[in-house]
């Protein structure tokens, strides 16, 4: 195994309401690569993401993510402390985005840098307008989120996550609210970020979106990893019959 994995998940277990949601999930993500996590609804892929960013506490196994180790045995306090540390290095874009409706686009982006990292407001605003330029929203800095289209809102959410300079970006179903044209636009935007050195985990049920973007793919079913490997391999020559079925249906 590579010493410098960005993420290394070992035998991860998560229960909820007496049911096992994740059952022994194991995988690695190398720096500056894109990992695509695919599977049907209810396969546990969103829960996996929520474990990776500390929104859910794990019930077994181990997560090593950006040099932070999370284990079931940690005390409540220590777990929370490590999650805080982890979140400094991880940015997340939710399926429902959860932009702050009472703040402008600019306000959304500089809120955390100014209040969490205590970056001076002016500096944060400068950085934010650069970020907005890179996602093509420079003119809309003073709008409120509800006046933006779905695609624009998503790019605000991405800029908001990037403003904290994360090493790792995680996306939950980024294409669920986008039409095919906008999906393609988002894909090329994300490719640009990878080129600039970001590592990404993208949860999606859209194989088309991940094709040509993800370096590696991981297929999940009922909380377990069915198959993982190079993207081309899973897309073109899946080994497991369940993966084959899913790919056939998705295409």
């Amino acid at each position: 195994m590579n010493q410098f994995s960005m993420i290394r998940v070992t035998n991860l277990v998560k229960n909820a309401n007496g049911a096992r949601i994740l059952n022994g999930v194991t995988f690695e993500v190398q720096p500056q690569t894109v990992m695509g996590i695919i599977g049907a609804s209810g396969s546990g892929k969103t829960t996996l993401l929520r474990c990776l960013n500390g929104l859910e506490r794990i019930d077994g196994g181990k997560i090593e993510c950006a040099d932070v180790v999370l284990e079931k045995t940690l005390s409540r306090h220590e777990y929370a402390r490590r999650v805080t540390e982890l979140r400094r290095k991880v940015g997340t874009v939710f399926q429902h985005l959860y932009l702050f409706p009472h703040l402008t686009v600019l306000g959304n982006i500089i809120e955390a840098p100014t209040h969490v990292q205590r970056v001076p407001r002016k500096q944060a605003a400068n950085e934010a307008s650069q970020l907005l330029e890179s996602v093509g929203l420079k003119e809309k800095a003073h709008r409120y989120p509800e006046r933006l289209s779905g695609g624009e809102q998503q790019r605000v959410a991405i800029a908001r996550a990037l403003a904290m300079h994360p090493e790792l970006l995680m996306f939950d179903e980024p294409t669920s609210a986008l039409d095919p044209k906008r999906s393609a636009g988002l894909r090329s935007l994300l490719r640009g970020f990878v080129a600039r050195g970001h590592t990404m985990v993208i949860v999606s049920h859209s194989i088309g979106f991940l094709e040509g973007l993800a370096d590696n793919l991981l297929y999940m079913e009922q909380g377990e990893v069915v198959e993982q490997g190079k993207a081309e391999q899973l897309l073109n020559a899946p080994q497991d019959p369940r993966t084959k079925d899913f790919m056939a249906q998705a295409k």
């Binding site: 960013n53 929104l55 979140r87 959860y98 702050f100 009472h102 709008r143």
Partner: protein
């Protein structure tokens, strides 16, 4: 019962009652319905402490004897001191027997029988009081008395700061607690309530002289003749003296009633000199007093809203996210204050707390009481608003590295505030009107002012209009201000909307 079905049933119930009443009166003797205020009404007429469903008092006994002398059966109609005269005119009963003085302003509205008692006034002070020996020593002190009595008019005429009470108990309680410096009261009440109380003493011998007469509607001349001859009868045959002696109210002054009444000449009374209407009702004075009352109302409303807005927040958070015991405590607080009448809460604070050594002045009690009460309501407004914010907003904040406190302050609270603002505005307007319950603890706010001024003058209509205008002058700008604030919170977004349409 709903209003509709209430209306439906009322005629039936009324006709049944009427039939019963008619049948009763035709068969038995005629009835003498008399009105008086039994609340704090000792020794005149009051609830028997041993049999709370029965009324006792020297006037109760007197009316029984009086009615018997008239060949009638006495029937007591419990009423309210402040509105006795208007209730009589509205036919709620036939006569008022409630230690009523025949003042000139009342004589404009009703007529009076012969006097049946000669009373004096007693000035009561705390036992340790050294400086007050007469009413003249009270010029810069606050003196308590019953509203709309000969005593209250005397104080007004002498220019002595006065606090009007609805019943004697409250006045004497406040005297003992140091909220006022003296109480002036008719001797019968003074004898009954505080003659044996070591905490207070008489500042001087009883002074002033007035008479109690029975009040009748103008035009009921037949009844007046009956009542007058019945009074003569019970005065002369000693049955009234017997009752008065039993209650410790007999004194030599009463003998005058016999001689003077018999001579066809009523005894000398000083009360006529102290009628408010002999000065004539002064509108400028009334507006000035209403303005002062309005200031008190505003002070109470804003003060209690400030308490409610601030205290509501920890209550909401405690009930929402606190550990189990804190949740329970907050719930108990909320349910207690929402589930009991604010009037009861104020009375408790005003008369209950002093027993543990916490005696606040009336306005502060009203301010605190309403504040505590509305805090319960505000906490529920906050809680609903906070719960309306999606969990994702919290999670998004956490993932950006915010602590729960920071997320709450910067992300959740501003969003919740917008949701809470309209119901908070509503609550403020209703709190504003609820300040009128401060009447119960003798705070001179608008509703109190209205009742007392209107009762003294009979100007219910004009004063009512004036008071309503006062309330509106104060509540309309507030509603307007709240609407503007709501709009300002949305304005930026509205400008955005216009802009985006242009683009």
């Amino acid at each position: 019962m709903s209003r509709a079905s209430d209306m439906f049933h009322r005629p039936i119930v009324t006709s049944i009652l009427l039939t019963l009443l008619c049948a009763g009166t035709i068969q038995a003797q005629k009835v003498l319905r008399w009105g008086a205020d039994p609340s704090g009404g000792a020794p005149y007429v009051f609830n028997d402490p041993n049999h709370p469903d029965q009324y006792i008092g020297y006037e109760k006994e007197m009316v029984d004897v009086l009615a018997a002398a008239m060949g009638r059966k006495a029937e007591f109609v419990p009423s309210d001191w402040e509105t006795l005269v208007s209730a009589l005119r509205r036919n709620s009963f036939d006569v008022i027997v409630n230690g009523l003085e025949p003042t000139a302003d009342r004589q404009k509205q009703i007529q009076f029988s012969k006097p049946y008692y000669i009373f004096q006034l007693a000035l009561t002070v705390r036992s340790d009081e050294q400086q007050i020996h007469s009413l003249a020593d009270c010029k810069k002190r606050v003196v308590g008395t019953l509203g709309n009595t000969a005593a209250s008019r005397l104080l007004q005429k002498e220019g002595i700061p006065m606090k009007a009470y609805a019943d004697p108990v409250a006045a004497y309680e406040d005297l003992k607690l140091g909220r006022i410096d003296a109480v002036i009261m008719d001797v019968p009440a003074e004898v009954f309530y505080v003659s044996k109380d070591p905490k207070v003493k008489r500042a001087s011998e009883p002074f002033f002289r007035g008479t109690y007469n029975i009040g009748l509607r103008k035009g009921d001349d037949q009844l007046k003749t009956e009542v007058d001859s019945a009074i003569d009868k019970i005065v002369n045959d000693g049955s009234l003296e017997q009752i008065l002696r039993k209650w410790g109210l007999w004194n030599d002054a009463q003998i005058e009633l016999k001689t003077k009444n018999n001579a066809g000449q009523p005894p000398q009374s000083e009360s006529a000199g102290y009628d408010i209407t002999s000065i004539s009702f002064n509108w400028r004075e009334a507006i000035w007093r209403l303005t002062r009352a309005a200031v008190v109302t505003v002070l109470i409303a804003f003060g209690s809203m400030a308490i409610a807005v601030v205290l509501g927040m920890p209550l909401a958070i405690g009930q929402w996210k606190g550990p189990r015991p804190v949740q329970w405590l907050c719930t108990i607080y909320v349910e207690f204050f929402r589930g009991t009448p604010v009037l009861v809460q104020l009375l408790f604070l005003y008369f209950g707390l002093p027993t543990i050594g916490l005696a606040m002045p009336g306005w502060l009690t009203a301010l605190t009481g309403l504040g505590l009460n509305y805090a319960a309501y505000e906490s529920q407004v906050y809680r609903a608003a906070l719960e309306a914010i999606p969990r994702g907003q919290w999670e998004a904040s956490y993932l950006l590295g915010m602590s729960p406190v920071l997320a709450f302050r910067r992300i959740i609270l501003p969003q919740a505030f917008r949701i809470a603002l309209p119901p908070m505005t509503n609550d403020f307007v209703s709190l504003f009107k609820d300040t009128s319950v401060a009447y119960a603890i003798s705070v001179w706010e608008l509703a109190t002012a209205y009742r007392e001024l209107a009762n003294a003058s009979g100007q219910f209509l004009l004063l009512g209009a004036a008071v309503s205008i006062f309330y509106l002058i104060m509540s309309l700008p507030m509603a307007h201000l709240a609407r503007r604030l709501e709009r300002r919170l949305q304005r930026r977004e509205a400008i955005e909307a216009v802009e985006s349409e242009i683009v």
